[in-house]
């Protein structure tokens, strides 16, 4: 065994510093990673080239590409469509949503890189969180962990297991089959999800929805709720008989109900009709108002209030339309005019719903109120139309609207490019990064999303965190620190029962995988533990299997790619990973050793 060198000690100190900074949070985790990237070459522990090799690594490029692909799928509403059936099964219960998505992600992750599965599902999970009002932090960690655990279901689920048979070859040991690990993997996934369902309350951070609302203040949300919801009504065939014509403005005046969509016979759909538009017989109309008011209108005007939206269903979905708050800006040409004069319905095809002034919401006769600087107008309309109004710059929008510009018409292209990328990986066995980048490029060329949107979609915190930790792993291996630690630990325990030996190997692999890459840990540890096991009269194949599996036991630090990816959006802190990760890691080792004991009877 090599003697302990200064380089090894320096590397161990650097690991200690990194872990300390992760916990202490004096700087953000990605900054810690950058610090490592800079400090290691300065200490001559890695070369300058090695320090930044992370940025060109297969994993980092794959993540960038897969994030872009995910954004493209989300922008076309494809993710929404995929999420819907899952939600239908899961209902509104948080636990069931977590179980449903976690299982789906785990299964997908068992056949592809788990970071890929995790990245593809990120937009979907964000949507679910928004739709069901479940804090993102309650969803991301269980699902992310499931993606990692799902990698242990088959032998191609994660890189360490893919490598395993190659590493066993020199020892002339029997290779593992594709599904040999499946029972263990399934047990791991099940126990992981069960942990979150049973103890999620204690081990997950208490997230709030407010911190995740995209620029929408709770006050505005309240105001929107006060204004009511969309309803669809149908007028009877004798609606216009023997009576004065009913105009859109009449309904507003009488019932404070805003008509935002109306069918012009025979079937022309008119959104944000002008106040003078007439409500005709036997047509559908979409209104925005309080339920009480809408019911009163339906009753008194003899309209039929539909149970749920039908004709206008697509026009009120969050992806195509919404309500924004626009403030009359200083020096705006709008100040001093009334909404009737502005005629937003006719000019922009958007409908003002209410005016908010001095802490008071005005809903009635808002057309006649003279607008003052600082008045907030709540305006409903299609995002496209609102965008046009925003660009006119007479009103300041307090709600960002560009985030929601969807391109449902590009869904086919998005799906096609995903299929291309996946078939390149699965059928043609082309390298992951190249395949995924092809898919991402395809989406940009077919204008599923613009190149700027693609850049914006990438979370640079994740990229720097991942790229920055790679040189740390390189240094650990290059200086021989890892090998030294492994040797020292394994020599120290001496000859023990096979089950104890396997447990120690499991713990060692877990610690290694937190700092150096899982592939690095596997390559380093497998030859070592096989020799150890032979010496201790334990099954060397099992020892190797423990390494292959336990290198996926990376939950306690945000160093695993999936954890790094979900850390930003979930607003997790390192402490959150430690708390939940410790529980899951312990359960992981117990379940893994237990399953190996049961299946192979060591």
């Amino acid at each position: 065994m090599e003697p302990l060198t200064t380089e090894m000690i320096l590397v161990m100190i650097m690991i200690g510093v990194a872990i300390f900074l992760f916990i202490a949070e004096w700087v953000r985790v990605d900054v810690v990673a950058i610090l490592m990237m800079v400090a290691l070459p300065l200490l001559h522990l890695v070369t300058a080239k090695e320090a930044f090799v992370g940025f060109s690594s297969n994993a980092v490029i794959s993540i960038i590409a897969v994030i872009i692909i995910g954004a493209g799928l989300d922008k076309t509403g494809l993710i929404n469509r995929l999420v819907r059936p899952v939600l239908r099964i899961a209902g509104r219960s948080e636990s069931r949503v977590v179980i449903a998505i976690s299982l789906t992600v785990a299964v997908i992750s068992s056949f592809m890189q788990n970071i890929g599965a995790a990245a593809l599902f990120l937009p979907a999970i964000q949507r679910v969180s928004k739709m069901l009002k479940i804090p993102l932090s309650k969803l991301l960690m269980p699902i992310g962990f499931s993606a990692i655990l799902g990698g242990t279901i088959t032998l191609v689920g994660c890189s360490p297991l893919i490598l395993l048979n190659d590493l066993l070859e020199p020892f002339h040991l029997k290779p593992f089959h594709l599904f040999d690990v499946t029972p263990i993997g399934l047990a791991l996934v099940a126990s992981g999800i069960a942990c979150f369902i049973l103890f999620g309350r204690f081990i997950l951070p208490k997230g709030t929805m407010e911190s995740e609302g995209e620029g929408i203040t709770s006050g505005l949300r309240n105001a929107l709720e006060q204004l009511g919801a969309p309803f669809e009504l149908h007028t009877p065939s004798d609606f216009t008989h023997y009576r004065e014509p009913v105009l859109v403005q009449d309904l507003k005046r009488r019932y404070l109900v805003n008509v935002v969509g109306i069918i012009e016979p025979p079937d022309f759909k008119l959104l944000s009709p002008t106040p003078e538009a007439e409500v005709r017989s036997d047509i559908d109309l979409l209104v925005y108002g309080r339920e009480k008011d809408v019911q009163r209108m339906a009753e008194q005007e003899g309209m039929e209030l539909k149970e749920e939206l039908g004709v206008f269903k697509d026009d009120v979905s969050d992806t195509t339309s919404g309500t924004v708050e626009a403030v009359v800006a200083p020096r705006s040409t709008v100040a001093g005019k009334t909404l009737s004069q502005l005629n937003l319905q006719d000019r922009f095809r958007v409908t003002p719903l209410a005016i908010y002034r001095h802490g008071e919401t005005y809903r009635a006769a808002i057309g006649d109120l003279v607008l003052n600087v600082g008045d907030a107008i709540l305006i409903q309309g299609a995002w496209r139309r609102l965008k046009v109004l925003q660009e006119e710059r007479s009103l300041l929008f307090t709600t960002p609207i560009d985030v929601e510009l969807m391109r449902p018409e590009k869904a086919l292209w998005a799906g096609l490019w995903l299929a291309v990328a996946l078939s390149m990986i699965m059928i043609f066995k082309i390298q992951l990064s190249v395949s995924l980048m092809t898919g991402a490029l395809g989406m940009i060329i077919t204008r599923v999303l613009s190149i700027d949107e693609a850049y914006r979609a990438v979370d640079w915190r994740t990229i720097f965190l991942l790229a920055g930790l790679i040189p740390l792993g390189i240094a650990t291996e290059k200086t021989g620190a890892a090998a030294w630690i492994a040797h020292t630990v394994l020599n120290a325990i001496g000859t023990v029962q096979p089950i104890v030996l396997l447990t120690v190997i499991g713990i060692l692999s877990t610690i290694f995988t937190l700092v150096i890459s899982n592939v690095g840990a596997t390559v380093l540890l497998v030859p070592l533990v096989v020799n150890m096991a032979i010496a201790a009269h334990a099954d060397p194949r099992m020892a190797a299997l423990v390494v292959g599996l336990a290198t996926s036991n990376s939950f306690m630090l945000p160093t695993h790619q999936v954890n790094a990816l979900y850390m930003g959006p979930g607003r997790y802190r390192s402490v959150d990973f430690m708390k939940a990760g410790l529980v899951i890691s312990v359960v992981f080792i117990v379940v893994m050793i237990g399953m190996i004991y049961l299946l192979y009877g060591i």
Binding site: R253, Y255, A365, L369
Partner: protein, 270 residues
């Protein structure tokens, strides 16, 4: 199915006509009862209200904004009664108090001076000269009253649908005419008329509740959506808003109530 207002001078047989019309059509006949309603509801001695209605506005001016306050009270009481429909109201200014109700049959009953003097002499047991002076003064005061409140002359025949001079035409002739006219289609209560009356009654109630001390607010109601128009001025408006919040609970039939400040008051506002 109509509302008839009969405006009259004293001793002009207007009351007799009104009662007979009500009897013929099976309507309710209302006059002083409205004042009773108002005095009950707003806790003002009835005497004060009668003087407010009868005497020259100078009496009202003794109170601060008494004019607007009393009118609002009476109007509120009257419109609540009118909202029930089928009604003959006789007394001063009914047609003016019900401004905005489209299907009111407005009638003015006159009698010639000689017969009025005779009637008064008989009733009060006074000399012809005294009776004449009293009647003239009475007429003059009512004239001033309407002028000062509404800016119109009660003797202006263009304010009425029907002006009947009881002399050659008898009381029963007048009853015939009025009853016949009341059955015409344009005076029938339609759904939208009923709605308008309800809104007017609601607006009147709100106005009556606010008028002391906010005498200068304008009130409209549209399908139960009440708008209160106030002059701008933060403190003033905030007080009105506070009171309005309470009213929303107190008065039945309000669907939504908002206070709009610094907006031109629409013409049809009370």
């Amino acid at each position: 199915m109509a509302i008839i207002t009969i405006s009259r001078g004293s001793y002009s047989k207007g009351k007799e006509v009104a009662e007979k019309v009500a009897e013929r059509l099976g309507y309710e006949c209302v006059s002083r009862d409205v004042l009773l309603d108002a005095s009950d509801r707003f806790h003002i001695p009835e005497v004060k209200l009668i003087r407010a209605i009868h005497d020259a506005p100078s009496v009202l001016e003794r109170f601060q904004h008494g004019k607007q306050v009393f009118i609002a009270y009476i109007r509120s009481a009257l419109t609540c009664r009118v909202a029930k429909d089928n009604l003959v109201y006789h007394g001063l200014a009914g047609h003016l108090l019900l401004k905005g109700v489209p299907h009111v049959l407005k009638v003015r009953i006159m009698a010639d001076m000689t017969s009025r003097i005779t009637a008064e002499m008989e009733r009060e047991g006074i000399s012809e000269q005294e009776a004449r002076t009293l009647l003239q003064r009475d007429d003059e005061e009512r004239r001033r009253w309407t002028r000062s409140l509404y800016g119109v002359d009660p003797w202006d025949s263009s304010l009425y649908d029907l002006v009947i001079h009881i002399s050659k035409l008898t009381v029963s002739d007048a009853v015939d005419f009025i009853s016949e006219a009341a059955l015409k289609e344009q005076f029938q209560t339609t759904e939208s008329h009923r709605r308008k009356m309800e809104d007017l009654a609601l607006a009147c109630q709100v106005k009556a509740a606010l008028v002391d001390p906010f005498f200068d607010v304008g009130v409209t109601s549209d399908y139960g959506n009440v708008l209160i128009y106030a002059k701008s001025g933060d403190r003033h408006v905030n007080k009105i808003k506070k009171r309005a919040k309470e009213l929303e609970k107190e008065i039945e039939g309000i669907n939504n109530l908002e206070v709009h400040a610094g907006v031109p008051v629409p013409e049809d506002a009370l």
